[in-house]
């Protein structure tokens, strides 16, 4: 059955939930997903691959106290769903159900993301034409550009979530992302630059982009890095630019505030609500309500309305990001943060659009305050171990700061530290907030999130260069 057909059969869904509750579970949930995806790539100045497809599946979850059982399948027939529910019930030890399904009440929430132009409704020829423009702009930027790759990834995810507490939620979520990567080559060396804007919108997002600026920015990073020296190494002050610079907060602190680890006592931020955990100039937010953004959700993957969650206010820890199981284990209020890559994963608390809020300083003041340090202009990804707080993230384009001025470019390096320490060292926050798109990986799979911040100054951090 399709998701539309299942949505017309609440009695069947009630039956499946009851089946899941059959042996003593105290909560049951069905997550149904259909996804249409299209991928186009452009390389060597011409179209390279065109692919498209559909995902179908459902995941049935049951709680026995704080323990969760999950079963997922592609079989969306009534019998397929009942079989998955039986699998989940089999984990229970009771002879009879102890809990009954409450009548469904549809969650009413204003759509945060909308599909104005569905990817299927745009002729592929026009998409390829736009990708060809990106290719031409990037190559025209500099003769050192030897190769350009353009990827257009579009998908629309339809979900239906129902649970034994009567939650009935539906959502249709569009995602569109364009990635332009340029390779600059000079003799025996080559370097790369990349730009990857995305949004929680349909094709209208691509129409809103300045393709020339994006392509030239990718080419510019590649060429600049080719001519750059190695980054310095050791501890020094760093100014991290706005936008994807927010990856520092995502890694150093974001993951530590998910009940995914907090509920197990496996995060350095456990038990610190109300405490000062960061410099007073740091206010940090995780917000699912921002219209059209890549990390936004109308409802989360547990059918709960999303919200704006203030995580840290003027340096004081205010909230964690809490999913159903996390709420059960900790007693903290739900924050609409339950997310999963697809029906193949049980959900857990994850980030949405996570950013450091604007402050009072200017970029000039920050740069001006440093005798010798690094200006990190473009960032890559990173990772963290929430149990220790040790994190890393990579810098893709950077410049030395000498005597209060931006000086020569240097090649990328990884910056590392411990989150508990680094939060106290963010001592200046700029005024212009920008968000940037990325993919975040964790126990419930890979999901779209944004990171963001204005420019910030970190008083001291280890820069992993070679000089």
């Amino acid at each position: 059955m399709t998701i539309r057909q299942l949505a017309q059969q609440p009695e069947l869904l009630q039956q499946v939930l009851s089946q899941a509750l059959d042996r003593g579970a105290d909560f049951a949930e069905i997550f149904v997903e259909e996804r249409y995806r299209s991928g186009l790539s452009f390389l060597d100045g011409r179209p390279k691959d065109a692919t498209s497809g559909r995902d179908f599946g459902a995941g049935i979850r049951a709680f026995y106290g704080n323990n969760a059982v999950y079963s997922y399948t592609n079989d969306l027939s009534g019998e397929g769903l009942l079989q998955a529910a039986r699998t989940v019930a089999d984990a229970g030890k009771a002879q009879e159900p102890t809990c009954r399904v409450v009548p469904f009440r549809k969650v009413e929430a204003a759509s945060v993301t909308q599909t104005k132009i569905h990817p299927m409704d745009v002729p592929k020829g026009s998409k390829i034409g736009l990708m060809a423009q990106c290719d031409r702009h990037a190559r025209a930027f500099d003769p050192l550009i030897q190769q350009v790759e353009v990827n257009l990834n579009e998908w629309v995810q339809e979900i239906l979530v129902v649970n034994s507490q009567g939650v009935w939620a539906e959502d249709v979520r569009p995602y569109t992302r364009l990635v332009v990567t340029a390779i600059a080559k000079d003799g025996q060396e080559q370097q790369t630059g990349s730009e990857g804007p995305g949004n929680g919108q349909g094709f209208e997002f691509i129409e809103s982009l300045d393709l020339k600026a994006i392509s030239e920015a990718a080419a510019s990073t590649a060429v600049t890095m080719l001519k750059a020296d190695y980054a310095p190494s050791g501890k020094m002050p760093v100014v991290i630019d706005k936008g994807f610079g927010g990856v520092i907060f995502h890694e150093a602190c974001g993951h530590l505030l998910e009940t995914t680890s907090v509920a197990k006592g496996a995060s350095r931020m456990c038990g610190k609500l109300g405490e000062k955990v960061a410099h007073p100039c740091v206010t940090a937010v995780d917000d699912g309500t921002l219209a059209d953004r890549w990390g936004s959700l109308t409802v989360d993957d547990e059918g709960r309305k999303t919200q704006k969650t203030v995580l840290i206010e003027n340096g004081v820890l205010k909230a964690y990001m809490v999913d159903e199981l996390g709420a059960r284990k900790t007693g903290y209020a739900l924050t609409g943060s339950g997310r999963r890559e697809s029906y193949r994963y049980p959900p857990t608390s994850r980030m949405r659009n996570t950013y450091i809020a604007p402050g009072d300083s200017s970029l000039e003041e920050m740069i001006g305050s440093i005798d010798y340090g690094l200006y990190a202009k473009k960032m890559g990804g990173g990772s963290v171990s929430p149990g220790t707080g040790d994190f890393n993230f990579s810098v893709r384009e950077a410049y030395l700061i000498r005597d209060g001025r931006i000086a020569e470019p240097v090649r990328g390096a990884t910056l590392i530290g411990n989150g508990v320490d680094i939060l106290t060292k963010i001592d200046m926050v700029g005024r212009d907030l920008e968000l940037a798109e990325g993919m975040c990986g964790s126990t419930s799979g890979s999901i779209p999130t944004t990171v963001g911040q204005p420019a910030i100054r970190v008083a001291e951090i280890v820069v992993g260069g070679r000089n």
Binding site: R37, L43, P47, K48, D49, A50, T51, S52, G53, R54, D55, F56, G57, N67, A68, V69, Y70, S71, Y72, N74, D75, A91, K124, G125, Q147, E149, I183, Q188, E189, Q190, Q191, T192, Y230, A231, S233, G234, S261, K264, A266, R344, P346, G380, G381, G382, S383, S385, G387, T388, D390, N392, R411, G412, T414, I416, G417, V462, V463, G464, G465, R466
Partner: protein, 441 residues
């Protein structure tokens, strides 16, 4: 089941059709706080289509195998927009498949209660091992069974089924305000070979060894990579050996076959037929039979990894390295098991050369800190600081940086054992490298 599909494709004017089908079952059990806190079962499948039509190439996939014809139509629509390069072809691969024992039927027969006990035992033993072990955030048992079938309209139809069980555990330790962690994995097709005692002991030892970690002074140092760390480097950078990356201008190994690009001590092969490897398979994603391939011999580059398309373009034969991430992916190139020939040097002798130097025991952030286009890397790391060949103290919160191609040239000595570890595709020995750049305090 697919005869009708091939017939349908013919009526649509498609003579070259390839179908890639994956079915898998899995079980995952997680212990926490003396209880089973997560228990997941799955049964899923999917089908990927690649076809050539009227000079174009198109792909499509579906997770509903009853909608395969719709997927063919989508692939046909996609093929209108991508011109098929002359070297692309879909065809049979005559030849005998190697006989590999990738499926152990007994694994599925082991009672679930035994698997539950194994997960619980890992946590219990770890927490009991030392009072400084504060928490075991996860202790998992996992099992997957997968069938892959590749068919095409030129008569190729090959299937293989494999299974594997794995255990993974993480320990958090604390002493004097310093928090460290360690994570271990083990895997086998035979349930009896997975031991809670063994993994708990190793995890406890390695985690506790990190207590007392100090910062490392920045600078260049001689370095020994453990076998697992060297294997991780090769896992991350092996893409430079892909003929696809070379032909797309993404690999610095372009036009360098026959050149010495690494130390003469370094010999590397790819072998999908290894019984002890974790990436073995009897044929690749196009159905080409697996066979061993010499990649580097005593530092000299012998071959790239090829699929049919890259081989046709290079005027050679496929080496059996076509890959698809899954039925959703496009056909690319990937290695299978990578085998580094061990050297002569016992492990202790490698360490004697560190005066001063660093033994690198762990590297993190590989997905972000390694650049395959340039070969540069800058990675978070942990290890032990050595002086005069003697261990001084564990070190942490530092990065190690360099260039992968230079690292291969700077190999001074290789250890004498090169086991495969689960979670890695490479069986590598420990190795001493002349110098890498370190950044810490």
């Amino acid at each position: 089941m697919f005869d009708a599909l091939f017939q349908f494709a013919k009526t649509q004017g498609v003579r070259d059709l390839e179908v890639y089908v994956e079915k898998s079952d899995s079980l995952k059990i997680g212990a926490f706080g003396g209880e089973i806190e997560t228990f997941t079962r799955s049964n899923v499948q999917g089908l990927g289509i690649r076809l050539l039509k009227d000079g174009g190439v198109g792909y499509a996939y579906t997770e509903n195998l009853n909608l395969a014809e719709q997927a063919v139509q989508e692939a046909i629509a996609n093929a209108e927009f991508v011109e098929a390069p002359p070297e692309i072809s879909i065809g049979d691969f005559p030849g005998v498949l190697p006989e590999l024992a990738l499926y152990d039927p007994q694994l599925g027969d082991v009672p679930v209660s035994d698997k539950i006990q194994l997960a619980l035992a890992m946590e219990r033993l770890l927490l009991a091992a030392d009072s400084r072990i504060e928490k075991v955030p996860f202790a998992h048992y996992g099992e997957t069974s997968q069938t892959v079938r590749v068919l095409n309209s030129h008569g190729l139809d090959r299937t293989f089924t494999g299974n594997m069980a794995s255990i993974a555990v993480e320990a958090l330790v604390q002493e004097n305000g310093l928090h460290k962690e360690h994570y271990e994995v083990d895997a086998s097709r035979r349930f009896a070979l997975l031991s809670a005692e063994k993994i708990a002991k190793k995890t406890a030892e390695e985690a506790l060894r990190k207590l007392g970690s100090r910062e490392l002074k920045s600078g260049p140092y001689a370095v020994v990579l453990t076998d697992e760390v060297f294997a991780s480097f090769i896992d991350v950078f092996c893409g430079v050996l892909s003929a696809k990356a070379v032909q797309e201008g993404k690999s610095l190994l372009k036009d360098r076959i026959g050149e010495v690009i690494a130390s003469p001590l370094f010999t590397l092969a790819d072998d999908a037929t290894r019984a002890d490897g974790f990436y073995s398979r009897p044929f690749d994603a196009e159905g080409c039979p697996s066979k061993p391939l010499a990649l580097l011999s005593e530092g000299k580059l012998q071959s790239y990894l090829h699929n049919r398309q890259t081989a046709n373009k290079a005027g050679t034969a496929s080496t059996g390295h076509a890959s698809r991430g899954s039925y959703k992916g496009v056909v690319g190139v990937s290695p299978s098991n990578l085998v580094v020939t061990p050297g002569q040097t016992p492990y202790d002798a490698l360490l004697k050369g560190l005066s001063p130097g660093v033994l690198l025991t762990e590297i993190t952030g590989l997905h972000a800190g390694a650049n395959l286009i340039s070969g540069d890397f800058s990675l978070q790391a942990q290890g032990v600081y050595y002086e005069n060949g003697q261990a001084q103290y564990p070190v942490h919160l530092f990065t190690v940086s360099g260039n992968f191609f230079q690292l291969l040239k700077d190999i001074e000595a290789l250890g004498n054992q090169a086991p495969f570890h689960p979670g890695s595709r490479t069986g590598a020995p420990a190795v001493r490298i002349k110098q890498l750049a370190f950044a810490g305090s």
